[in-house]
Amino acid sequence: MNFPQNWAFLLPTHPAMAIDDKWYGFVHKQIPIYPLITFRILFGLVTLISTLRFLLLGWVEEQYITPILHFTYYGLDWAKPLPGMLMYIPFTIMLLCSVNIILGAFYKISAFIFFISFTYVELIDVTYYLNHYYFVSIISFWMIFVPAHRYLSIDSVCNRKIIITYTSAWTINILKFHLCIVYFFAGIAKINTDWLLNAMPLSIWLPAKNYMPVIGFTFDYKITAYLFSWVGMLFDIFISYLLIYRHTTVWAWVVLCMFHIITGYLFQIGVFPLVMSACTLIFFDNNIHKNVINTLGKICNYHAPALTKYYAPTMGHHHKLFAYLIGIYVIFQLLLPMRYLLYPGNIFWTEEGYRFAWRVMLMEKAGTVAFYVTDSQTGKRGEVVNSDFLNAHQEKQMAFQPDMILQFAHYLHKYYRAKGVNDPLVNCHAYVTLNGRPSRLYIDTTINLAKKQDSWQPKSWILPF
């Protein structure tokens, strides 16, 4: 389909235009599709590698089959694991969908099923929450709606009518936006006293990695922790600008890769460096993507039409509404990481508003928590052996996250009530250390956690920092 004449006004944004028209133009402006095609292939590859790695490391069994209980997200406790070996099904589906995404075969349905499967798995247990899993979930959601299969794909080979060479700007910019906010909010989160003035937690983490070749010896010096802290903060805040600015894109990406290689080597962050290094290639110039895609097309004997073809969104006269919705979504994504400001206290201590906020590798926090169950009739009190119910990973994460402590208390209440304890009271003695400080009492020991309910409200039973 050729570019419609009545859309021509979308190409330039005239200063005299109303702001909503400018936004409308920005959202629907037609730009070359090639970066989106590269992104589709790379994203599929990354999810394929990530899923294979997960399977090969035996984490399906360890994280989803073996545990006795799972910590659910507030309001999402319907997300339960499939029984036993059936839990391998969503992972197998993810593998197949990833291959389909790479090839652009049955793309829309594959992207949809991948999003459902991946998000379902991530919602099962909050223990394994990672920012990059959240990122993959969001991106896979948008991959359902973008026309990433309409060039260099099996779908477009089977149905050549769908081929386009231009797409609406939002289909690419929404992905760029999400990459930018990961870094930007990660950088903003680093602007705190511990990170910048005390070089914490890097003063703990770096000396522990002084066996790293070549630069490892420098980790023994406190100044290195300061340098890493400040450079890390500045990198996170400014890398998005440098990626967007076309004269610095390539160099910014090289620096980004070096940053991720170093952090990937230093810290246990799995495929995060790979995900971010691959996805940020979308910032490269259209011509670079075009050359790559055309070369790949030649290798695959892919024949694209010579004519320029534009993306025809199917929403008809709702274009403007869609542009507004995108705007609302963007504002929501900018506000969500800031929601912690609505809670009293130190976010690192209370963790209220901590997740889904791109707070990446920010603190060294650990805890030891002992739960006590008391029979409300007999007064008989006993201590819980947490490892009887939780794996090491769950126990570690639960010990310093209040919502998980509360969930475990509720589980213990039900468990011991079923065992014959009368209306069990559940208290805990939790000691938590944050960024190298001596551990302190974390939860009010007098509170019967079994009677407390989780909510969006501040948790009054968390003791002040």
């Binding site: 490391l57 522990a208 023994d220 300061y226 246990q268 002992a370 000691y431 250390t433």
Partner: protein, 365 residues
């Protein structure tokens, strides 16, 4: 280029600010601690000698078992009991070695050697069936040093001729002692091969030797706290009464001595010491070289002393099971204070040293 200038301008201003005089004094702290040296100390001073000692004791125990089962008399029975007591004491310093060669296809080292309470019904069934295929099943509560303790002490005070009228009884005793001796020999032999790998693996991430040392020490301490004190005292959630018969070494009554010996080993491990080698490089030395480590050293030492002082008040010559029945007040204090120690040697230690608290290399960001 303006953007570059602005970015680097801000960057240098911030760096100079970070290097303000009040902070410079801490910025050239050079951490000179050698984890390899610490690992060498653990391997050469704590682990290998402890395993050698256990091997000698279990070899002797097996010899005494053969002598007794061939010649049932009081003198041989006393020799066997003494050999068992020595082996039990030696085992306390090795019960944490469940990594490296300690992970076997029939379970962990301590599961095969030191499982208690033993299942006396299962042992009886095994004896009747002459089932001594210990390497082919996971019924670890029917073998090991505590099974042998039960077998040796169960007929205490009864005429040997009557007690051991069933020859299968004696065959089972020999089989248990032999299996244990073989397991210890294997562990000892394999540790000597593994020793160099252990020392060389001086990182701090999951599956590093430091991570193993830390995790196994804390796992061992929690076993001490939960199974030697908490459970027999009836302090576990859901328990309606004490279970004094489930103390360690219930039949021999050596529980208090073993509890004290075990506790001393936990403390020594933190210091990197043994009873004869008191200047070893341990977690305390490691902590002394990290930021904020001194306060944790002091807190941990103080709590070790508190627990040790209470332990000293518990009489060696009394059975732990009897003290539990008597509701000895010092045991209550011991339980409370030993629980307090956990946070110092577990979460605070791992956090200060940046040690991975799990073996699984799960991702994190």
């Amino acid at each position: 280029m303006n953007l570059y200038h602005k970015v680097f301008g801000v960057y240098f201003i911030l760096i100079f600010w970070a290097c303000a005089p009040d902070r410079v004094q801490n910025m050239n702290t050079n951490v000179t601690f050698s984890r390899a040296k610490m690992l060498k100390n653990y391997a050469d001073t704590l682990i290998i000698p402890a395993l050698d000692d256990l091997q000698n004791k279990t070899d002797k125990l097996y010899e005494c078992t053969l002598i007794f089962t061939n010649n049932l008399n009081t003198a041989n029975h006393i020799s066997l009991k003494n050999a068992l007591a020595e082996a039990l004491t030696a085992y306390q310093s090795t019960s944490w070695l469940n990594f490296g060669p300690g992970e076997t296809n029939i379970g962990l080292f301590s599961e095969n050697i030191g499982w208690y309470p033993v299942n006396t019904t299962l042992i009886g069934d095994n004896i009747n069936k002459s089932d001594t295929a210990f390497t082919k099943n996971f019924k670890r509560d029917s073998r090991g040093i505590y099974a042998l303790e039960y077998l040796i002490y169960q007929y205490d005070g009864i005429d040997f001729a009557v007690a051991f009228i069933n020859p299968k009884n004696l065959q089972y005793i020999n089989a248990v002692a032999y299996h244990m001796k073989a397991l210890v020999q294997k562990q000892c032999r394999e540790w000597k091969t593994y020793q160099a790998t252990f020392i060389a693996n001086d990182g701090t991430d999951a599956s590093s030797s430091i991570s193993y040392l830390f995790n196994e020490n804390i796992a061992d301490y929690e076993k001490l706290k939960n199974y030697k004190i908490q459970y027999p005292m009836g302090k576990r959630a859901g328990q309606t009464k004490a279970e004094p018969q489930d103390v360690e070494a219930y039949y021999s009554g050596l529980s208090v001595k073993l509890l004290k010996a075990h506790y001393i080993h936990v403390e020594n491990r933190w210091y990197g010491n043994t009873s004869t080698h008191t200047n070893g490089t341990g977690f305390d030395d490691y902590l002394a070289n990290v930021e904020g480590g001194t306060s944790l050293i002091n807190d941990t030492k103080a709590q070790f002393e508190v627990v040790k002082n209470i332990l000293q008040k518990i009489p060696d010559d009394k059975k732990l099971s009897d003290l539990i029945v008597e509701k000895n007040p010092d045991l209550e204090i011991l339980y409370t204070e030993s629980a307090k120690l956990t946070r110092y040697i577990k979460s605070e230690l791992s956090s200060k040293l940046g040690i991975s608290i799990t073996y699984s290399s799960g991702d994190g960001d």
